[in-house]
């Protein structure tokens, strides 16, 4: 039954033709209406020229108000294009899956009513179409990755938009409309699949680096003699007992860190500082001599004998 194979091939072609080229970014706002918006990004050259022509002393609207109005106008255009883009991504996903599912349903339903030979052909065709659907979805990876990519685009846009709004807090002589044009381009670029994948890849690499750092040995440990270990343990227990939320204890930790020559970073999480101190103590106290040396330093920092 050659027509079964042809039917499956036609359905595959129809579905594939609908999304042969995957749109990876919103339609640029400078292409939406060439009659209305000259081929520039927003704000356009005309908008910037008009803005620059407004005297610094102008009121109602002031130059700053004009700047912010132009930024808002352009941002809303970008938002509109982005929303349409995301909607189109989802439409492509639904239409692809639906086309294949309908074909599979039609073929298998006919199998029970046909003659034996026809039933075999129909069932074989159904298996072929179902298999093609699985392969097609795997290749395009829509269902699994689209939500993550859209979420990353949203996150990228939110960061750029926040910075844009922060910049608007500066007056118009510091943050001009031309400066905003650059940031708006960045806002537009943030809503693209390319930027989303770059951000996701960068986060994955950071995670790999962090994991690698975790398993990288800080020093080589050896067996410590019992007498030294007893004193060393007492030091570690003391450091761990410090309440990092209490200023006096935090100051003691700082004094120990300085005495042990642990590099401190301003604003560092106290738990990380304590971590660094403990690692330094573990690494440097190896025998009686090094324990005595550390005890002298710790006496100065804590007033205690170890």
């Amino acid at each position: 039954m050659r027509w079964v194979g042809k039917l499956a091939a036609v359905c595959a072609a129809i579905a594939l033709a609908g999304c042969e080229s995957l749109q990876g970014a919103p339609i640029a706002i400078d292409a939406t209406d060439t009659a209305k918006y000259p081929k520039d990004t927003c704000p356009t050259r005309d908008m910037i020229t008009a803005y620059n022509a407004v005297p610094l002393t102008a009121t109602a609207p002031s130059r700053r108000e004009l700047r912010d109005a132009d930024i808002g106008f352009c941002a809303s255009l970008i938002d509109g294009q982005y929303s349409a883009f995301v909607k189109q991504l989802h439409v492509q996903d639904v239409s692809t899956t639906l086309a294949f599912d309908l074909v599979a349903l039609g073929l298998t339903n006919g199998a029970s009513l046909a003659s034996k030979s026809t039933a075999n052909a129909l069932s074989a065709g159904a298996s072929g179409v179902t298999g093609a659907s699985l392969a097609f979805n795997k290749d395009v990876f829509y269902q699994k990755t689209l939500p993550a990519i859209v979420a990353q685009m949203d996150a990228n846009r939110a960061v750029v938009y926040k910075n844009l709004r922060l910049s608007e807090q500066s007056d118009e002589t510091v943050y001009t409309l031309a400066d905003a044009q650059h940031d708006l381009r960045a806002y537009q670029a943030a809503g693209t699949i390319d930027e989303a994948i770059s951000a996701i890849s960068a986060q994955a690499q950071q995670s790999v680096t962090a994991s690698n750092n975790e398993v990288k040995a800080l020093f080589v440990a050896t067996v410590i003699d019992p007498a030294t270990q007893t004193r060393k343990k007492a030091v570690a227990q003391y450091v761990k007992s410090l309440n990092l939320a209490v200023p006096a204890d935090k100051a003691t930790l700082d004094a120990v860190a300085n005495g042990m020559k642990v590099a401190l970073t301003a604003g560092e999480d106290p738990a990380l500082e304590r971590h660094d101190v403990l690692v330094m103590l573990a690494e440097t106290i190896l025998d009686q001599a090094s324990m005595n040396s550390a005890a002298t330093t710790l006496k100065a920092a804590t007033g205690k004998d170890f």
Binding site: A221, Q229, Q237, K240, V279, A282
Partner: protein
């Protein structure tokens, strides 16, 4: 929040010394959270955030590919460590 600190142990270390090192570093840093190797030495990972445990973890070689967890002990972590120079699948357990 976990603050991991990984230390290395020479690959020719005996199992007895390896466990002594585990106990001493649990006292100095915090509870053991991971065991493994970096190809040239055993690596032991400790968490410096929580208090040091009262009972030290103990590493034992796996038996027929299975972890050996003594009665009244809890499995902490598994990995391949060097015992007397030989890469050995092992499990760390902690007495309850």
């Amino acid at each position: 929040m976990a603050n991991p600190a990984t230390v290395g142990v020479a690959k020719n270390t005996s199992l007895s010394d390896l466990n002594t090192i585990v106990g001493q570093n649990e006292d100095d840093l915090g509870p053991l959270t991971g065991i493994g190797n970096d190809g040239t030495q055993t690596t032991l990972t400790f968490d410096t955030d929580p208090p040091s445990p009262a009972n030290h973890a103990v590493i034992a070689a796996d038996s027929n590919g299975q972890p050996v967890v003594p009665a009244s002990s809890t499995q902490v972590c598994r990995g391949t460590v060097f015992i007397a120079g030989a890469a050995t699948p092992a499990t760390a357990t902690r007495p309850n």
